[in-house]
Structure formats: structure tokens, C-alpha cells
Symmetry: C2
Subunit: 116 residues, 2 copies
DNA sequence: ACACCATAGTGTGTGAGACACACTATGGCA
DNA sequence: TGCCATAGTGTGTCTCACACACTATGGTGT
């Protein structure tokens, strides 16, 4: 009765597709309080947003390049860490994505109600 | 006061990423009552699931190849139309995706509440 | 009668992004 | 001092969304 994470690669693929955009949204929301990649990785996974390190690191760089995140190296402590923070543009995008998420949610609910 | 669909290509891209998996889910749900591509296209767009013809047609073929949809040509009427119907596997996947969608929804809500 | 448009679908690119794999480097601890 | 967790970068592959081009048919206008 347990939910096997990925028995069928086809199912796993579609589950992943569904998650795709949500990782961006989750990162933008989470980094409103600044943090570095590795910590965010664990935080998101704890929150049930399954994301791989090899997905998150490039994602953070991409979002920074798009101006949605800013970054700075913290060299105060012994180990240098790259701290990211959501920019104003990123915050705007997050709001837009959340709105669209709710819109989609309503649309899907509508659909499922029509075909019971 | 209207919601401009895509002023910024970056924003548009992320909005699309968010939609990605939902089109599959919407198609699987909608085709529990059989239908053909063109009608589904218009139905989804009316329901607020924005999807292009060049996206939907290949998607339907892909889902059929994966065994999530079945298809048959309706040649009774003058114009032949390819009718798709969600298979049992497709129905299972739809249920799984819906469950995951709700899981993600809860996770995101959690995140946003933690960083007000 | 036939030209034209909406409908309905197929086939072939191309580009972007997710993920795998491989790699560097450092701090802490046994 | 050797090993593992931490922290991040770089490269390649594969899939998917979308653009573009194409075939084909039914209805409508003239």
C-alpha cells in the first residue's frame, strides 16, 4: 500500500513534468530569505519538493542570469558559500506563478468535475 | 486591468514550464469521455489550459504510444476524425498526477506561509 | 462550378531545460 | 591522515514544446 516512487519510468516521467515549474516557484519563494544552494536543496526535499542537486544548481545559476535571483559569496566563515536572494523581479514572477498555479488548479478541478 | 499574457519572454517561459505537466493531466482527464484532437484543443483552451495545436497533436500521439490513450478512426461521418480515449493505465496515471498535484499544492502553501 | 477558408491531422526540424555523470575542493572527525 | 559530508562547477544527452510546412476535406460564397 506504499506509494512506490517510480515503478514505471513513464509514470515517473510525467510526475516529473508536473513538478518542473514548481521547483522554480519554490526556489523563488524560499529565497525571499537568503540561503545557499545546498541548504535550499535539503529544505526543498524536506518540504516534499523532490529535486536533485544536478537540477537545482544549474537552475539557480539560470535564475540568477535571468535577474530573478542575486548572489554573493559569503567568505566570512571558513567555508565559502554562495548565498542567493530573490530579487524584486523574482518576487514579481513568484506572485505571477502563484496566481497561475491557482488558475490552473481551478481549471483542473473544473475538468475533473465535468467528467466524474 | 487585463492580465497581459506574455510581456516578458522570461516570465512567459516560466509560466509555460508551470503548465507543462498539467496539459497531460488535463488531456487524460478530459478524454475519459472520448474525443478528437481538434475539439479537445478548443475545449482545453476554453477551460484556461492554454495549449497550442502543434503541442497537443504530438502530445496525443506520445500518450498513445505510451499506452495511456487509445485511438480509433471514426469514419462513420463524412470527415474522418481520430478519436482518443483514456486507457485504464491513463486513468491510473491521472489519479497519481492529481494526488501529486495536491501534494505539491500543500508543499507550496507551506513554503509561502513560512516566508510571508 | 470552383475558389477559398475553417477544420483536422501528419511530419520534420530546432532550441531550451532537466537530469546524469564526472569532477574539484574543503572542513570535520575517527 | 584518510575518509565522508558538504558545496559547487562543467559537460553531455535526451525529451519535449513549439514553429513551419504540408496534405486533405467539407462548407460557403460568387
Amino acid at each position: 500500500m506504499d506509494v512506490d516512487p517510480s515503478p514505471d519510468p513513464v509514470v515517473a516521467g510525467h510526475l516529473q513534468e508536473l513538478r518542473r515549474g514548481t521547483v522554480v516557484l519554490a526556489a523563488l519563494v524560499a529565497l525571499r530569505t537568503p540561503g545557499y544552494g545546498y541548504a535550499l536543496l535539503e529544505s526543498l526535499n524536506e518540504h516534499g519538493i523532490g529535486v536533485d542537486a544536478n537540477t537545482l544548481y544549474p537552475l539557480l545559476r539560470r535564475l540568477e542570469k535571468q535577474g530573478l535571483l542575486t548572489s554573493e559569496w559569503n567568505t566570512d566563515e571558513s567555508r565559502p558559500r554562495k548565498f542567493y536572494r530573490t530579487s524584486d523581479e523574482g518576487d514579481d514572477l513568484a506572485a505571477t506563478l502563484i496566481a497561475d498555479w491557482h488558475r490552473l488548479d481551478a481549471s483542473l478541478r473544473h475538468l475533473t468535475e465535468e467528467t466524474p
